[in-house]
Subunit: 387 residues, 2 copies
């Protein structure tokens, strides 16, 4: 069978930006109670029965409860005038400064987000192209640039990495900027602690580069993906898409365009699934075993209920390496969570280490990647909290 | 340099679904005038000056005007309870029935749309996986399936085809279902004829399959992409993303979450750009010339102002082949427009023909693909109008 030149892919640099505005668990608890007051005032004005007793539970939480049952100590929210594109830009600008790549070397911008800056148009990847000064001319002819906006709920980033691997390994691009950025605070339903205690904002940039096949960090068999739409009801955005457009102010007041989660359902599905069948299917495909993996990063969905038990199960199956996470300090930043965790721990990203990156969530979906660090990687963060 | 098995990609089948509800140009004209009445009633009630004289132009059109200055004779709108996922499902179900592929042979669902059925979660690709009965188990282990939702405004479909080519040519997938589906009627601002005369709904499915490299319909050099965010203002959705969330009913009443276009600006950019520099850059990369292309399909954006002049310019540069379009009968269906046009003209899709697929629009963006039909293709449509 004929063949073509093929390439491997390495990662040159990962950067992360988190907004300086630290939001504590107590602030989340206060905001939920404030919302309860607003809702009850509205009900009172309408002469309807107030939310009371047990029904107020969805509005009640505490620092202690969040630390114990979710595992986040704090998180960041972007200011009102900060868009997802801004979060991405701050990370991507940092990347270009640190790694010293010229804008005209970038062949692609793959922008992963579930909170796009604009609906339908313009695409975030193209807005970012202009902000980064990626040129539009190559001599007198228009310069080629591959752009895309895409998502797969909480599995977006690894699923996007897989698409980038396809572009690079097939020789279509040499340097691709993979963005994972989300302003998840805009998707919080403040009448439901389930996601309010969890979601947060961050932007990341990852520079993926073509390398010779023998230096490939990855392999076509190192990616594994899964989806089961029969449980699409577990994590939903009730309104705002074509299945149920926003129709009135009432929809906004009820946060129908925000995220909703069946927390116990998510736990009941993903803890057993990730603990064994999913990881075993991915390892079998990759011809790897858990005792060969040095560094594990899971999408930081819920450290106490999900990430902790899953890692523990993997340790029972031979995993002896380190877990790289954002240590519960940045919340669940969806498309940003894995590269943010990596960028926060440059000391662990040593040449030779084998890693596994595991995303899972809405859909339900899962997207995994294994790899091995084969050259030094540049890492930088801009995550300092407000003084 | 080491190499790996690589694959070519062919297209097995293209199907298209258009909702049966035919919307004539006169119906568009009436709907705009009705909106003018609503707006003026609202202004009157608020004691504000009414929209009168020249200012009513944005609400005025006619069958003659639309045919002459835009080039659409009619279009289809999905019913209120029809989602983008439904449009995709009808096309994909037709494809699976006609081509005779079993659900468990599909390795990926790449869903391209600018009008997702749900915001953030669940992804359309995963909802569709379940509706099509694509299995979630492979024996006792979870079955791998690559899913993704993505878009690049009007260039979404060809940009998505390029990602699919990356997955297939790098050996990551054998059969991928590429969806292009949009319910653009949900993005119409009825206070502005610019897009109201243009946008429409349709769903398409395209089955992409791995073939030996020597039978490849495409080539890594046959794809070309471009973006220039400095003119991101040309086609925008003013509100609804994180750059400017929907804040109140007033935003909805003013259609701020709908599409807005600087029509003259789009024409001034794209007619010269597509006529020469873009096509020349793409041809140079592909090592092809226009006289070698038998079949051309452009994203059907605006037949009179854009598609017509661009094709005419190409004919002046040697293009002598056929233009495959939806003949102005289905409006601008964004991610669906190119596969819809192809599915409507099976008689032209002969083995041996060289084709060019050209998408362009919001961003601004462009995404092109050249190829050659190397085996017979199954084509089917479900586009019968309501009796």
């Amino acid at each position: 069978m004929a063949s073509r030149p093929s390439f491997g892919m390495g990662i040159e640099c990962i950067t992360a930006f988190a907004p300086p505005n630290v939001v504590t668990n107590n602030m989340i608890a206060e905001r939920l109670l404030e919302e309860l007051g607003v809702v009850n005032k509205r009900l009172e004005d309408a002469g309807q029965p107030l939310i009371m007793g047990k029904a107020t539970d969805l509005f009640r939480t505490s620092d202690r409860w969040i630390r114990r049952y979710i595992g986040f100590s704090e998180r960041r929210f972007g200011a009102e005038d900060v868009s997802t594109n801004d979060l991405a830009y701050f990370a991507a600008k940092l990347l270009m400064d640190r790694v010293g790549i010229a804008a005209d070397e970038i062949d692609g911008v793959i922008f992963r987000t579930v909170t796009p800056s604009y609906l339908a148009s313009p695409p975030d990847a193209i807005v970012l192209q202009h902000r980064l000064g990626i040129p539009v001319l190559d001599g007198v002819l228009p310069r080629e640039l591959i752009c895309d906006d895409g998502s797969l709920a909480c599995s977006s980033w690894v699923a996007g990495l897989r698409l980038v691997y396809g572009l690079i390994s097939s020789g279509q691009a040499r340097y691709v900027l993979l963005i994972g950025a989300d302003k998840m605070s805009t998707l919080i339903n403040w009448q439901d602690r389930t996601f309010a205690c969890v979601l947060a904002d961050a932007g990341t940039a990852t520079l993926c580069a073509a390398v010779p096949v023998e230096d490939d960090w990855f392999d076509p068999s190192y990616f594994w993906s899964w989806a089961d739409g029969s449980r699409a009801d577990l994590i939903t955005t009730p309104a705002g898409g074509t299945a149920r457009p926003i129709q009135s102010e009432a929809d906004l007041v009820e946060y129908l365009n925000c995220l909703s989660m069946n927390g116990p359902g998510v736990k009941d599905l993903f803890v057993p699934f990730m603990s064994k069948p999913a990881i075993q299917a991915a390892l079998r495909k990759a011809k790897l075993s858990l005792d060969e993996i040095d560094l594990v990063t899971l999408h930081e969905a819920n450290p106490a209920q999900l990430n902790g038990p899953i890692v523990k199960a993997w340790q029972g199956q031979g995993f002896q390496g380190s877990v790289i996470s954002a240590d519960g300090r940045f919340g669940n930043t969806t498309t940003a969570s894995i590269p943010l965790a990596l960028a926060l721990h440059p000391e662990l990203l040593e040449v030779g280490k084998r890693f596994g990156w595991f995303s899972f969530g809405g859909g339900p979906s899962a997207s995994f990647a294994f790899g091995q660090i084969k050259h030094p990687i540049v890492v930088a963060t801009d995550v300092e909290p407000e003084a």
